[in-house]
C-alpha cells in the first residue's frame, strides 16, 4: 500500500509555479529519492507532504488519510531533516533532542533514553552539554539527523542529509538509513549526490521546473535514458561540425556539451570506428545516474 499518495499536487506563488501537477505514490518501506536542480520544487513538494505548507491545488494522503484533515497524526509519524540547520541555538545539544521529543509528547524518561542513545549512535555523547554554536558543521548535521529520529518515525524525510559531511560520517548516515530499511521505515531522500541516490534509493524521481520528468529504479533510469555505457569524445572546434554530422548520419543518440560530445546507447559493436581512427580522444565509461540527470534537466545553470 502506498504510504504517501498525491494527486494533481500544485503549489503556486504569485508568478512562480513551484510544483506543477505532481502525482506520486510512495510505497511503505521503500527509499524514495528526489533529484533535481536547485529551484526544481523539491523542497516545496516536501513542505506540502509534511503538512507545513498548504497546497494551492490537489490532494495528499498519508497512510490512506487525507492530510488536510489528519495533519497532526501524519506529522507525529514523520521525522524531518531539513536542508538548512534549524537547531535551537538557545538550548544545549541534549536539550535540543529532549525538547524536540517533548513536541512529540514523548514522556520525559523515554525522551532522555532515546536522546542519549541517538547521541551515542552519532558520536556526540561528549558534546551533550555543549551549546550549538560550539559544534562543527559536521556535528550539527549529525545532530539534525539524530533529531529527525527522536520520535521513532515511520517516515523519515531527509533534505540533503550528507551535505558537508566527511566520508566517515556519510557512511555512518548511510549505514543508519540502511538499518531503518530493515525496520520497515519509509525514507524520502532529496539529494544532489548521485552516488547516494544510486546506493540508497529503491526508486528515484527526477524533477525539474515543478514537474516529475521520470520515476523508476536508478538502474532502470540509466538503462532507459543512456544505456549501459557512455562514450565521451573530446573535440576541438575545427572538427566539430564534421563529427556532429557523422554522428547524426549514423543515427546515434548523442549530446553536444561544448568541449565534449557524449554518445549514449552504444553497444560493444564498433559503431564508432572511423571516429577513433581520426585521432579523436575517445573514452568509454559505464553510465551513471548523473548522465540521466543531465539528459533530463539540461546542462546549463538554472536561474
Amino acid at each position: 500500500m502506498a504510504i504517501i499518495k498525491t494527486k494533481d499536487l500544485t503549489k503556486r506563488f504569485k508568478d512562480v509555479l513551484a510544483v506543477d501537477d505532481v502525482n506520486l505514490e510512495i510505497e511503505e518501506g521503500e527509499c524514495f529519492g528526489l533529484l533535481g536542480p536547485n529551484g526544481a520544487g523539491k523542497t516545496t513538494l516536501i513542505r506540502m507532504i509534511t503538512a507545513v505548507s498548504p497546497p494551492t491545488n490537489g490532494e495528499i494522503w498519508v497512510q490512506g488519510k487525507d492530510l488536510e484533515r489528519s495533519a497532526r497524526e501524519a506529522k507525529s509519524i514523520m521525522g524531518v531533516v531539513p536542508q538548512l540547520d534549524n537547531l535551537d541555538p538557545d538550548l544545549t545539544v541534549l536539550q535540543n533532542l529532549m525538547t524536540f521529543a517533548r513536541y512529540f509528547n514523548v514522556p520525559k524518561h523515554e525522551a532522555r533514553h532515546r536522546s542519549m542513545e541517538l547521541l551515542g549512535l552519532f558520536k556526540l555523547e561528549d558534546k551533550r552539554n555543549s551549546a550549538i554554536r560550539e559544534l562543527s558543521g559536521g556535528m550539527r548535521r549529525r545532530l539534525l539527523i539524530a533529531r529527525g529520529l527522536v520520535n521513532n518515525p515511520r517516515i523519515i524525510i531527509l533534505d540533503e542529509p550528507t551535505i558537508g559531511l566527511d566520508p566517515q560520517a556519510r557512511h555512518l548516515v548511510w549505514h543508519k538509513l540502511t538499518e531503518l530499511h530493515a525496520q520497515g521505515v519509509t525514507r524520502i531522500l532529496c539529494t544532489h549526490n548521485m552516488d547516494e541516490a544510486t546506493v540508497l534509493c529503491d526508486r528515484v524521481a527526477i524533477m525539474n521546473e515543478g514537474r516529475i520528468l521520470d520515476l523508476d529504479a536508478p538502474h532502470k533510469l540509466v538503462a532507459r535514458h543512456v544505456g549501459s555505457d557512455v562514450w565521451e569524445i573530446e573535440v576541438d572546434s575545427q572538427e566539430r561540425e564534421n563529427l556532429l554530422a557523422m554522428l547524426e548520419s549514423r543515427g546515434l543518440d548523442f549530446e553536444d556539451a561544448g568541449t565534449h560530445i557524449y554518445v549514449f546507447h552504444v553497444g560493444q559493436e564498433d559503431i564508432l570506428t572511423g571516429i577513433v581512427g581520426d585521432g579523436h580522444k575517445l573514452r568509454q565509461r559505464p553510465a551513471h545516474l548523473e548522465d540521466v540527470f543531465f539528459r533530463l534537466t539540461g546542462r546549463s545553470l538554472i536561474e
Binding site: K11, F13, R72, N86, D90
Partner: protein, 287 residues
Amino acid sequence: MKLFSWRCIRMWQRNRDVFVRLWHSEAPGAIAEPILILVAMGLGLGAYVGLVDGQRYIEFIAPGIIASYAMFSASFECTYGTFFRMEYQKTFDAVIATPLSVEDVIAGEIFWGATRSMLTGTVILTIAAAFQLVHSPWAILIPLVCFLEGVVFASIAVFYTSMVPAIYTFNYYFTLFITPMFFFSGVFFPLSSFPQIVQTLSWIIPLTPVVHLTRSLVSGDVHLGLLWVFGLVLLFAAGFFSLSLFTMRRRLAVLKGLCCRTTWLDSTAQVKAPFYMLNIENYSVEL
C-alpha cells in the same frame, strides 16, 4: 481560521526552558529600570507635584509603572524575541514539522509573552509594596491582570511581527505605538487634564483600561464598574489574539516559499522598501 490546541504548552515550555537557562543575562536590568523610574519620577519629580486629592505622586504612578513595564515585557518578547526565533533561528520552521501547528506555536509565544508580563508585574508589585505604596488586599489580583494585559500586548506584537520585513522595522513599533502609550494612558498624570473628547478616545488605547484596573486594585477602589473595564481588556485580548494567529499562518505556511525566494534573491531591496508596501504586495498573492 484554525484554532490552537493544548499543544501550545510545548512551545511555552521551550521558551520557559530557555528563560531558565539565560534569565540572568537580562532579568536584572529589567527590574532595575522600573525602580529607577519609580524613584526618579515618584520621589524626585513628585516633590514638586501636588495632586488634587492630596495623594503622594509616587503612589499615583506606582500602579501605572506596574502596568507599563508588564506591557514592555510582552512587547519585547514578542517583537524582537519572536522575530529572532522566526527569522534568524528558524525555530518555528523546526517546530511546525512536529505535531504542533502554526497556531500552537503562536499561542505558545503569546502565552509565554503574557507570562513574562505577569512575572514583571509581580516583581514591581512586590517592590511597590516594599515602598509601602500598596493599600489594598485586592492588589493580589494584579498578577492576573498583568497576564491578561500580556496576552493583549503579546498578540499586538505578534500581529505586527507577522508583517515586518526586517528587524529594524520594530523601531516604528516602539516609537510610534508603545512609547506614546506609556505617556498618554494615565500613567504619569490623570487623563482628566485632557479635553473630554481626548479622554474618551484614550479608552481605545489598550493600556488605558489596564492602568485603570491596576490603580483601582492597588488603592482598593473596587466596584462593579471595573467589570466593564475588565471586559474591554478581554475584548482587546480576544481580537488581537485571533488576528495574530491568522496573519502568522499566512507568513509561516501559506506564503513561505515566496518569502524565501525574495529574501534569497534580493534581501537588500526588501529591507529598503517601505514595509507597509511590501506586505500589501505579499498579501495580494492569495490563493
